[in-house]
Subunit: 232 residues, 2 copies
Amino acid sequence: MTSPVYLKIFEDIKSKINNAGLKPGETILSEAALCKEYGASRATVRKGLAILVNEGFIYSIPGKGHFVQDPQHNKYTVFYDEMKNSINSVDKTKLLEVNIILPDERLANELQITKNKKVIIIRRLFYTDGEPVAYDVKYLLYYKGMPIVEKEIEYSTFPEMMAKGMPLFSLKKTLTISAQIPDDMIKKYLDIYNQLALLVVEQKLFDHENKPIGLGITSFRGDYIKLLGSGE
Amino acid sequence: MTSPVYLKIFEDIKSKINNAGLKPGETILSEAALCKEYGASRATVRKGLAILVNEGFIYSIPGKGHFVQDPQHNKYTVFYDEMKNSINSVDKTKLLEVNIILPDERLANELQITKNKKVIIIRRLFYTDGEPVAYDVKYLLYYKGMPIVEKEIEYSTFPEMMAKGMPLFSLKKTLTISAQIPDDMIKKYLDIYNQLALLVVEQKLFDHENKPIGLGITSFRGDYIKLLGSGE
DNA sequence: CAGTGGTCTAGACCACAGC
DNA sequence: CTGTGGTCTAGACCACTGC
C-alpha cells in the first residue's frame, strides 16, 4: 500500500499547484530544497519532477529552476477509425472500385507527385445494419508489401492498409474534418433523399520522411457519426 | 555537440525497432545487457528506456522485460479554439443574450443537475471579415470568480470563461463533432440562403471531480471551418 | 534458483543564471 | 562566486517471473 516516494512528491506538488493557487510562471522549490523536505535523494526528487514536466504541469529552465506551466486549454485527443465510431460500427463494406489512375492536378498536388506517377484508387461503401452510412475513397502511392488481396482491402482501415510492410511507428498522419452538402453521386450511394449534411474526414498519411503516401476521404452521413475528443 | 548517452540509447533502440523490423511483442535487450553494450550505468540505460516507454514505443513488464508496443494507428491530437481555426479567425463577436434560465430536460441531463437549478446562458455570433460564421451557445453552472463583465464574455473562449477562479489544471473537457443541417433560426443568424452544412462542435467542461460545469455548442458554417488533427 | 524490472541512495562533474 | 538544473556512476534492496 505504500506508494513510492517519487509519486508522493509528484502528487504533493501537483495539488500544491491546484490548491495553493500557484500561478503560471511561479517557481517550484529547488531540487535541493525538495531533497531536504522529503529526506530523499536527488534522483528520487528528479523522478517526481520529471513526471510533472512530462504531464505538462511544470517546465524547467537550466540554471534557473522549475516553473508552473500555462495550461493548454485547447488541446484534445481524438480517436478516429473509419470503421468504428462511438455510435456504432461498420459491419459490412462494399468495394466499388480498385484501380490505377493518373492523378489530376489537385491530387498530384496533395500527394506531392508529378501527374504521370500512377496512383491506386480504392472506393468503398460502408454499411451499418444494412444501411449505407459512408462513402470512402482512398488514393495510395504504390508501396512494397501493399495489400493486394481484396478481402484485405475491404475491411482495412487506412492506416492499417499503409502500415503493412512499413517500419513500425514510421507512419505519420493528419486529419481534416469538415461539414459538407452531399453531391448527387454521394446522395445516390448513401440513399439520401432529404436534406442531410455529411461529416467529411480527410486523412493524409506520411512516411518517416514526411512524404505523403496516401490520401483518404470518408464522407459519413451526418446522422450516423459523431467524433469524440477529450482533453485536460 | 555530443548528445547525452541516454538519448543515443533511445534513438538506437527506436531505429532498431523501425529498421530491424521488430514486431510488436518482441523483446528488447535487458537493462543489464544494455549497460554492457553501452558501457553505461543502469540509471542511464533506464532513462533511455523511460523515453521509449513514454513515447509509446515499448512497454515493460516487471520481472519479464521490455517489449515492443503495438502502434496506435487511430489516435490524433486536435487543437480546437472556437475563436481561431486553421482557415481564419473570429475578429468580432456579437452578444445575443446573457441570461439565467431553468434547464429543460435535455440540458439538466447533460449537466447532471435538477431542473430547478439555475443555469447561465450566453448566446453569441462570431464574425470574420464582417460575415457571420458561427452561432454559439454556452450553458454554465454558476461558479465563483465567473466573468460578469460583458467585454470579458464577448471575446472569451469557453475554457477561458470557466478556468477563471478555478484551480489550474483542474478543467477537463470533451468534444463532440458532428455535421448538421441548419434550422431556420441559425439560417437567419448566419445569413444562409442556399444549402449549407454546419459543423457543430459541442464542448463539455468538467471540474476536478468530473462533474459537468458547462456545455457549449458552436455551429460553424461548413464553408468556414475545417478542424485539423495530427498523429503518429 | 537466477534473471528481470522498480525503487532509492550518495556521491560526482558539468553548463548555465545571476549577483 | 553560489545556486540552479542536466548528466552519470556504482552501488543497494525489493518483488516478481519462470525454470
